[in-house]
Symmetry: C2
Subunit: 117 residues, 2 copies
DNA sequence: TTTGTATATAAGTATATACTTATATACTTA
DNA sequence: TAAGTATATAAGTATATACTTATATACAAA
């Protein structure tokens, strides 16, 4: 069985997972939000605070948060009247591994082609 | 100057670059193509061959290739009547670093929050 | 209870994306 | 030069995305 055949088998599921992940990340507002959350001092951050950081309306922010939560980039916990968003660490580690795998495959091929010359 | 302030300065440009990169990657056909190119035996691959691999029409494949080339994921070289696509190694290494930086920031924050408990 | 606050969701709209078919461009070869 | 091949681009269309405004839901506090 050739590499291409093997690849065709695993790549379908993994590629679809990566598509979902990349789609969730493919928005500058959401990327800036992730950086802001990374550097922010506030541990538990509410939707209203996030909408202020993002300079977006509450519904717009809420919709972005839904996308990030669906993609398991963020996690939400309800506390009384507020919903606090945080990183989904466990899932983010898995996401990172998927991306690393893609780039490892691609860059390994680059290296192989370079060595052939 | 707080981290948030510093962040606000660098994140704008970098975030926009990441958005473009993630958008280019946010399509399962393109992701599968990257895996196929990674594992394929053919070094120089033409648009027609790619459209067959992708199971898409020639114009559709051409449009995907344009997106991947614009995002500096692939590179094209013309040879006679054919245009051969290959990975843009130099740029891919830079792309990987940008993604790594994002995840490093995010996962460092995760770790920090975990240690606080 | 009633009122206020926090958040989500629904519906509408403008723009982006991913295809299609048709055609243009560039090169090759008879 | 004419005809064929490889690729890109243009135009059209269906669907997705990212907002908007209006409204629903869930909880808190008076």
């Amino acid at each position: 069985m050739s590499m291409l055949r093997i690849n065709a088998e695993y790549s379908s599921d993994l590629s679809q997972e990566l598509e979902e992940l990349f789609k969730a990340l493919a928005n500058v507002n959401r990327i800036v939000l992730l950086y802001s959350l990374s550097s922010g001092e506030i541990e538990n951050i509410s939707v209203n605070e996030i909408s202020q950081i993002m300079k977006l309306s509450q519904p717009a922010a809420s919709q972005h948060l839904k996308i990030l939560k669906s993609a398991k980039i963020l996690d939400a916990k309800k506390q009384g009247n507020h919903i606090y968003y945080n990183f989904n660490q466990k899932s983010l580690i898995k996401h990172k591994k998927k991306i690393d795998f893609l780039f490892t495959c691609v860059l390994a091929k680059c290296q192989e082609l370079e060595n052939r010359e």
